[in-house]
């Protein structure tokens, strides 16, 4: 049953060194504040999972929190490369990063399988590419050979959402990404929210994740910034563009991290 706790307490209780951790968000509701708290608490040796690692994963990787990254597209959307990710892969700075690479369709199937408590996901994918399917299975009914991907089952899944009620039921809407799958596939789940309300009002397109599949809810207004929370604030496109400059050199990155993450009081 979800407890409503501070972000610092939630990260401290749920995320351990060496854990497999997913902070998901498909261009929307990306849990930046939770990522910063992981950096502040100096977690190490994390096996990170995310379909679209972008700026907050660049920060986690540059801060030395990660030993591996399972992903399908690692870039700064609409801007270009992730310089910290590239530095880790190309030069091993601040430490080498093992990559486990998929396609989006493969990652999506792995999330759905994890949420379904299945050992693997199945899809018609990876055909003809140098990116091999992790395995193949033969359809027992038609004989068709299909790609198989191991289910994502992280130790900790973290997502951001618009709001929760006082019991910790979570409501989110707009682009849904793999938020629900991440919570359901993970052994421990944390949801950061913009606000807690007395009652979750029906909203077009909204889904509810019930409190009994969530371990902790932390109230973090603007916790997705520079990503956005539909209905609360817009994507800070200017920051995504600035990140290209900030992250390009190790020195400017480290300085930014000190000023904007380490020196900040936890939410």
């Amino acid at each position: 049953m979800a407890e409503i706790v501070s972000l610092a307490d939630a990260i401290s209780a749920l995320v351990r060194d060496g854990d497999t951790v997913a902070l998901e968000g498909f261009t929307h509701l990306i849990p930046h504040a939770a990522g910063h708290e992981i950096i502040r608490q100096r977690r190490r040796e994390l096996a990170l999972i995310r379909m679209t690692p972008d700026v907050v994963y660049d920060q986690l990787i540059g801060a030395g929190c990660a030993r591996s990254l399972t992903f399908s597209w690692g870039g700064n959307p609409g801007v270009g490369s992730l310089h910290r990710l590239r530095d880790a892969v190309e030069n091993g700075w601040p430490r080498p990063l093992e990559l486990v690479e998929h396609s989006h369709a493969g990652m999506a199937a792995a999330w759905a399988a994890g949420a379904s408590n299945l050992p693997f996901g199945v899809l018609r994918g990876y055909r003809g590419t140098d990116l091999p399917a992790p395995a193949t299975v033969t359809c027992p009914f038609t004989g068709e050979e299909l790609a198989a991907v191991p289910a994502h089952r992280p130790d900790v899944g973290i997502v951001h959402a618009q709001r929760a009620d006082r019991k910790g039921n979570v409501q989110l809407w707009g682009i849904l990404g793999v938020q629900k799958e991440t919570v359901l596939a993970s052994a421990r789940a944390l949801v950061t929210v913009e606000e807690v309300v007395d009652e979750l009002q029906p909203t077009p397109g909204a889904i509810v994740i019930p409190n009994w599949v969530i371990d902790a809810v932390a109230v973090v207004p603007r916790g997705a910034h520079p990503s956005y929370a539909h209905g609360y604030y817009d994507r800070d496109n200017a920051f995504y563009k600035q990140w290209d400059e900030i992250s390009r050199e190790r020195e400017t990155f480290t300085q930014w991290l000190d000023e904007h993450v380490h020196a900040k009081v936890p939410a």
């Binding site: 929307h28 690692g74 369709a105 999330w111 003809g128 590419t129 140098d130």
Partner: protein
């Protein structure tokens, strides 16, 4: 201007009943231009889960809020890839890449060896399954010898369904399994295109010139380009 030519030429190839899977950048520009001009009912699907998005301005990312606000439906990412893409419900998929070969195979993964790359690119994202699950793949790519290569460093997606490659110099289409120059843009010489291609380019006997952008097309395009399209 070259970007505009590419967007306009790609937009002309979309029709009012096309359902297209759109990535950010030039494909999004092209698809929205089609919607703003001759194909107002063209259905735009962004892989973030927005079906029938109708943005007024070009989004910077595939997940901009305006896409969800204007969409006919918003679905989860697993649903998008399983029910809609794998389900075979999408006509046209746009792809870009860092490298292309003469068969339309694309690389958006690495330059150099995979395990010790010179350049680590963002990766395939949706491309591997877009390339095999849509009916027609449209590629948009600037034509240079570094991008149009004899051998890919990595094959991210296969070229079987590539129907057209729109570049800043002209248009290539597969003829007998090999990409062949079928159009040059106004003022571009066939030799310019040959020089910008890393393999010995096959040129159609009836190679033609693309129609210059019309004032209406340019006006509609420039009206869209106020925000995104970095």
């Amino acid at each position: 201007m070259n970007d505009e030519l590419m967007a306009i030429e790609a937009a002309r190839r979309l029709s009012n009943d096309t359902v297209c899977f759109v990535g950010i950048g030039l494909p999004s520009t092209a698809a929205n231009l089609a919607r703003a001009t001759h194909a107002p009912d063209c259905v735009l699907i962004y892989e973030s889960g927005t079906i029938g998005a109708k943005p007024d301005e070009l989004p910077l990312s595939i997940g901009d809020g305006e896409l969800a606000e204007t969409a006919d439906a918003v679905v989860s990412v697993p649903e998008m890839f399983a029910y809609w893409l794998q389900g075979g419900r999408i006509d046209v998929g746009f792809l870009g890449a860092a490298q292309i070969d003469r068969h339309g195979n694309l690389n958006s993964t690495v330059i150099g060896p995979y395990d010790s790359p010179t350049v680590r690119l963002p990766g395939g994202g949706g491309a591997p399954e877009i390339a095999t699950n849509v009916r027609d793949v449209f590629v948009m790519l600037k034509q240079t010898p570094r991008a149009f290569v004899e051998r890919l460093d990595f094959c991210t997606s296969v070229g079987d369904r590539v129907r057209v490659v729109v570049t800043d110099l002209g248009v290539l289409e597969p003829r007998d399994g090999e990409l062949t120059l079928t159009y040059v843009h106004p003022g571009v010489r066939v030799d310019d295109v040959r020089a910008a291609t890393g393999w010995e380019l096959r040129v159609a006997e009836d190679v033609d010139e693309t129609q210059a952008p019309t004032n209406d097309e340019l006006r509609a395009l420039r009206a869209l380009r106020t925000k995104g399209d970095a």
